[in-house]
Assembly symmetry: C2
Homo-oligomer: 264 residues x 2
């Protein structure tokens, strides 16, 4: 239990996940959580656990991850933000910080998550974006992908697209508010918004969607993957093309101007 | 002199310049030219000099650099492209290759160059784009910058914005076809198109333009910088935000689809 005097600070985080074994703590691995907790300790003098709104896998990036921690520190949120940024490594930054109710739970209270998946669709391998996109050299039919993606929107059982689940028997039904595909030049941007996602769901949904883009699967066959058993659909797209863009709360935790920085 | 049988191959190159001392050969330094010449030697078995359309400084990137070389190889351009890409390091790639007249000069025959400069204008330092943008934390007035930039368009003497010149006494007059500034969220994109640029000209023009964005200089004062002596205007913006986007030829050397891949 938090002490009476503990304050909960929530952080809006951006990171390049290339050098990390994911967001969540793992023994003997470099994780976003351990980097953040180290920076918090250096800033406040106290060791505390940080909680994350979305779990990102090894190599997955974030433009709007939300994390929170309890602290006895009397420093205001802006000062904490600047101090954390001074201690954090160059590939992690706090975009905004604010104080919230001590019992706020960034994971449970999140209303929706927005993930983006970037595909570089050209013959030549990427150079400037090489750690941030999935390179697919075979030409993709973005219109077919967009059509197939639209078929999965709604309240559906996404078990087929789930990797190993954290708790057996838990529901695999999710509300997929939006799944869109947009082409601009050689870049395909896949945007997915849902109340929540199953482990590996985005990467498996995009991985199978690329099969549609290659003409190996029809949009109706893509939708029919939903009927398969747990973890039957895929393959999973590589981690490096995936970005956690935004976690939505009601009321919002952060100024919209800060949270929505990177339009498509 | 090229032998009768020599063929000239022109290459469209993309590279992340972060780890290079620039495009041009320098003894004991890692340059784009030496990386390319090494790949050509491994592909064709012969050592040859590569020529570049635009000289990029240390840390400057390219999305559409043009290079050419003479070869005795009988391999077709597509095969050469694939072989070069197999030998080139991960931060350099050949986007397209074609054969042209043996006396074609990628530098002299270029009609126009398009450079882009990216500024990330927000309080927090960049993470995902940390090697590819200039971070300016103080809010910039993009409208004032756009106005000032427009004043420099036309056929002007840009000596004030030039770094050390390659040949003394050469003309410092250039045709600046376009100089625009566009804001999208926290990202400012400066596009410059000219028949040719003086050394450091783009970086000094953008460096001084940011002073306008900060309110330290008025647009008319920015234009008046042109009246100063050689190298009097600046400061130069850092190399990492600069991209050589495109070199234009008449007729075009490459398919437009390949050459124009990255809209603003």
């Amino acid at each position: 239990m938090a002490q009476e005097s503990s304050r909960r600070i929530v952080l809006l985080l951006e990171y390049d996940g290339s050098s990390y074994a994911g967001s969540q703590y793992q023994p003997n691995a470099r994780t976003i959580q351990s980097a953040l907790e180290t920076a918090i300790e250096k800033t406040t003098g106290d060791w505390t656990r940080a909680a994350f709104a979305g779990r990102t896998d090894a190599g997955v990036h974030a433009r709007g991850q939300v994390a929170s921690f309890l602290t006895e520190s009397r420093l205001d949120a802006g000062t904490l933000q600047r101090a954390l940024n001074a201690w954090l490594p160059p590939d992690i930054v706090v975009l905004a910080a604010t104080e919230t109710a001590a019992n706020h739970d960034v994971r449970r209270h999140a209303r929706a998550r927005h993930y983006r998946y970037l595909i570089e669709n050209r013959a030549a391998r990427p150079t400037l974006e090489r750690g941030g996109v999935w390179h697919v050299s075979r030409p993709l039919d973005a219109a077919a992908m967009e059509q197939a993606a639209g078929l999965l929107q709604g309240t559906r059982d996404f078990r087929a697209f789930a990797g190993p689940l954290e708790s057996e028997g838990a529901s695999t039904v999710r509300d997929l508010h939006c799944f869109s595909v947009q082409r601009r030049g050689t870049r395909l941007t896949c945007d997915l918004v849902a109340n929540a996602f199953l482990p590996h769901q985005v990467r498996r949904m995009v991985g199978a969607l690329v099969e549609v883009g290659k003409g190996k699967m029809r949009p109706d066959e893509y939708e029919a993957l939903l009927e398969g058993p747990l973890s039957s659909a895929g393959p999973a797209a590589p981690a490096q093309g995936l970005y956690l863009m935004r976690v939505q709360y009601e009321p919002p935790l952060f100024d919209e101007q800060v949270a929505v920085r990177h339009p498509v």
